[in-house]
């Protein structure tokens, strides 16, 4: 009996989390590319007063009025940001920050007000702060499915318009696309994605679900379509894994666990994604620095030889070290392995000396030519 119940809960939770991951991943991709990730944060925090108002108006923990309330206050916050940036001289980030703290403060006040009323259903509202997987009902999953399907349909239907709006809104406007309307549709859809995630992830961390899967996906691909698909997959995976972990281990708030899962995707992607991965970039930079150093050594040997009028001029390794203030041995050995240098025993007591080979001499001239310093 108990096992059946937990299976049933798990299935609900997994489906809900997957839907949440898909919609927030898809819409988050556009938010990320439009440099509007912080809008997600503001919208989700601004959902809290709506959650409380929905609860107060419906007189209990009824999902639909709560989600509608969240959507309304989220939209109000977005409008507020728009007004602040258009009418005042505040920049977008300041406007977002003001809206976030104002709406969240109102929400917190309402939440404590409801708490002081000693309402029996109040326990359920706390779940909207950090999310609670176990509170998901089949009806909730159905609502999430409808909203996810709607946003996917909109994104597919207006794919090229959203793409152009995200890449070059000015050009989109010059073509006569209704940029303001598209902007509003996009913002409302992000608000919807956030609203359906509230129960699972909570208002505090929901923004991460908008940003993280998209940011991770961005690392792996050069195509918008692939990025959006991948973000949906990452979002769904982190949602399912996180929700299931939190559902199995009692006492873990769902939101933070899901967000930790999404963060793993981000960190792995940032480090290891081909081309854009930080690890590969670091390796490339080390390789380039070494190559530059060895070119420098080769050219200096060439110029020494040139200055002495003797292509076979032997340069002392110790002197090279002294000259660069670092160990030139690695560069010298590498040049030797390429056949540009040979080691000679010029004066035994002074240690090894290096002499340019014909190939090395030619290579140095080549390098100088490439740099526009042809001898």
């Amino acid at each position: 009996m108990l096992e059946l119940f937990s299976d049933f809960t798990l299935r609900n939770v997994a489906m809900g989390a997957a839907l949440l991951g898909i919609s927030s991943g898809v819409l988050g991709s556009f938010a990320l590319l439009r440099e509007q990730s912080l809008l997600g944060d503001t919208l989700s925090h601004a959902a809290l007063p709506g959650v409380c108002l929905g609860f107060l108006i419906a007189g209990g923990r009824n999902l639909l009025p709560i989600l509608l309330g969240a959507l309304v206050t989220g939209a109000l916050a977005a409008l507020f940001v728009l007004l602040l940036t258009r009418r005042s001289r505040l920049k977008n980030d300041a406007a977002l920050g003001i809206a976030l703290s104002l709406f969240f403060a109102v929400g917190t006040v309402l939440l404590t007000y409801i708490g002081n009323q000693n309402n029996a259903g109040q326990a359920g509202l706390d779940a909207f702060l950090f999310g609670q997987a176990a509170s998901i009902l089949p009806a909730d999953v159905a609502v999430m499915a409808v909203i996810t399907a709607l946003s996917l349909a909109l994104v597919l239907g207006f794919w090229k318009e959203f793409k152009l709006l995200s890449f070059d809104p000015g050009f989109a406007g010059s073509l006569g696309l209704p940029t303001l309307l598209l902007d509003i549709i996009m913002t409302v859809m992000i608000a919807l994605a956030i609203v359906i995630g509230l129960q699972l992830v909570g208002v505090v961390l929901m923004a991460a679900m908008v940003i993280a899967p998209a940011a991770a996906a961005r690392q792996w691909t050069r195509r918008l379509g692939a990025m959006v698909t991948l973000a949906a997959v990452f979002g769904a995976l982190s949602g399912v894994v996180g929700a299931v972990i939190s559902a199995l281990a009692t006492g873990l708030a769902t939101g933070p666990v899901i967000v930790l899962c999404a963060s793993v995707f981000v960190i792995v992607s940032l480090l290891f994604a081909p081309e854009r991965g930080l690890l590969w970039a670091a390796l490339r930079s080390v390789r380039q620095r070494r190559e530059l150093h060895s070119h420098q050594v080769l050219i200096d040997l060439y110029q020494l030889a040139d200055a002495h009028g003797n292509p076979q001029y032997p340069s002392e390794a110790g002197m090279m070290n002294l000259y660069y203030g670092t160990d030139a041995r690695r560069a010298l050995r590498k040049l030797a392995s390429k056949g540009y240098l040979v080691k000679t025993e010029h004066m035994r007591e002074e240690g090894p000396h290096w002499v340019l080979t014909d190939a090395g001499y030619e290579r140095a001239r080549e390098l100088l030519g490439e740099m526009g310093l042809a001898a």
Binding site: E35, E161, S166, F167, G170, S174, G176, R222
Partner: protein, 296 residues
Amino acid sequence: MSTDPDTSRQSNTQQPNTRQSGAATNSHEPELALHIEDLTVSYHSKPVLWDIDLDVPPGVLAAIVGPNGAGKSTLIKTVLGLIRPAAGHIYIHGKTYREQRRKVGYVPQRSSVDWDFPTTALDVVTMGLYGQIGWLRRPGRRERARAEKALEQVGMDAFAERQISQLSGGQQQRVFLARALVQDADVYFMDEPMAGVDATTERTIIDLLKTLRSRGKTVIVVHHDLQTVASYFDWMVLLNVRVIAQGRVDAVYTAENLRRTYGGQIALLETPTTDAVAEEEQPDGPEQEVEGARAL
């Protein structure tokens, strides 16, 4: 300097600085590629453009020149309906922009977009056709072919599938140009297409602009390089919140006009203008007279 062979072709199309335009006829000047009346644009109660009257005849390469903050980009954006003016009327071949949208191509400033956007050169060029494809439809093979042809025209066909972040600044600019070409417009507006590009790209661009002109197109370009204005363009608008002067380059490009546009900010101007233009035009008469003298 101003030995552009094509300028002579323009000599009797339009007298420069015919500011009385619109007074004679009350039509919206369909014979002018661009006709602006009394345009004022302000930002937070500060005027960015003040009482602009501006005419550009068809078939010219026109440069909009002025110092930083002169409102050059604002002018273009207002013409394209991206900024709402406080007052004024704008006509393209006699009709409003909304009616003429299909006949207008636009090259925004290269720095106005994020080039790290996940897309390819060909895809960006295809965006030029999004206005023609219609809602709920995706670009197909025909659009792709047109985009490829436009890329070829700017010498970028080899880079069609290249991620745009991997292109050099000049190559990115050429992609933007190809996107405007694919619009197949009559009037092109370009915002600093030659800013920060390599010499090869600058040559490609100017050749392309001249090709467009030879096909009867009008190209209106925000240009920042005073040294090259006279050799690249045949029409010129000097702008600094107001229109300081407009007309054929050889008439407008005078030391006096440049001083009035740039104020004291220009030491570099003295060199190029004095030998080429100012020498014969030193008596600084009204432009009309200078124009007459030149025509002889």
